[in-house]
């Protein structure tokens, strides 16, 4: 018997999550651009002060979470399209999840050291 293992609405959820995270990251990008264009932090003091602000830390953390979620959907899509052997694809998915988890952990470490 050939079974296709797909949960209900999984695709729709991922599709929506990818778009919501995209919108958040786009907003963050615009805000950061405005910050840089108005007064680019050229010294260590200014650079550190920028990331010492609470809103910046939280916004950057949200960006990191959005990126991980967004990339999880996107990179998985790439592997689903091009990597046909199931075992290899599963291994790659696990690798992507580990890399993204590492990125997230690293981001938290940078922001709250």
């Amino acid at each position: 018997m050939k079974r296709i293992v797909v949960g209900a609405h999984q695709g729709t959820g991922s599709w929506l999550a990818q778009r919501i995270t995209a919108v958040f990251m786009a907003l963050y990008t615009v805000i950061l651009l405005v910050v840089f264009l108005r007064d680019a932090p050229a010294t260590y003091g200014a650079w550190q002060a920028l990331f010492a602000q609470g809103w910046m830390r939280v916004a950057t953390l949200l960006f990191a979470v959005s990126l991980a979620w967004h990339a999880w959907v996107g990179v998985r899509d790439i592997f689903m399209d091009y990597v046909k052997p199931d075992g290899l694809r599963l291994a790659l998915h696990v690798l992507v999840a580990l890399v993204l988890a590492a990125y997230l952990g690293w981001s938290v470490e940078i922001l709250w050291r």
Binding site: R19, L67, V75, I110
Partner: protein, 134 residues
């Protein structure tokens, strides 16, 4: 069988040479595949590199100066340029896809025009950034 069907060999298998020389991707197709390529590059290595740069530059004043000097290296500048292109293309193409999702600009002419715009804006931004760096 008509001559039209006899002329073409079917099925057509996609070889690398067919992809490179025979199949001409329309502009929206280029935006789409480059969105994928830039997305893959942003996942790795650019996010890892960005985190490394952020981590080091925030560590101490000496490390901040070290990263500043490091980013003056020609290879690092080229890396930054590739990063800027990938980010900008992924951003612009992404906005275009979001608008397409909302049924904005899905007719052939605006869809072609917007894909041209995406390619042009990301390339122009990259060139502008190159001027800033050199």
């Amino acid at each position: 069988m008509s001559s039209a069907t006899a002329k073409k060999l079917r099925p057509k298998y996609l070889s690398l040479s067919a992809l490179l020389f025979e199949i001409r991707l329309p502009l929206p197709g280029w935006v789409s595949i480059l969105h994928r390529v830039s997305g893959a590059l942003l996942f790795f290595p650019f996010t890892a590199w960005a985190l490394y740069l952020l981590d080091s530059s925030l560590a101490s004043a000496q490390d901040f100066e070290r990263i500043k000097a490091y980013l003056e290296l020609p290879l690092a500048k080229l890396g930054l340029l590739a990063f800027v292109w990938a980010y900008c293309h992924h951003f612009c193409a992404g906005v275009r896809f979001l608008l397409l999702d909302l049924n904005r600009g899905i007719e052939l002419r605006p869809a072609r025009a917007s894909s041209m715009l995406v390619l042009a804006v990301s390339l122009a931004t990259t060139v502008f950034f190159a001027f800033l760096l050199w």
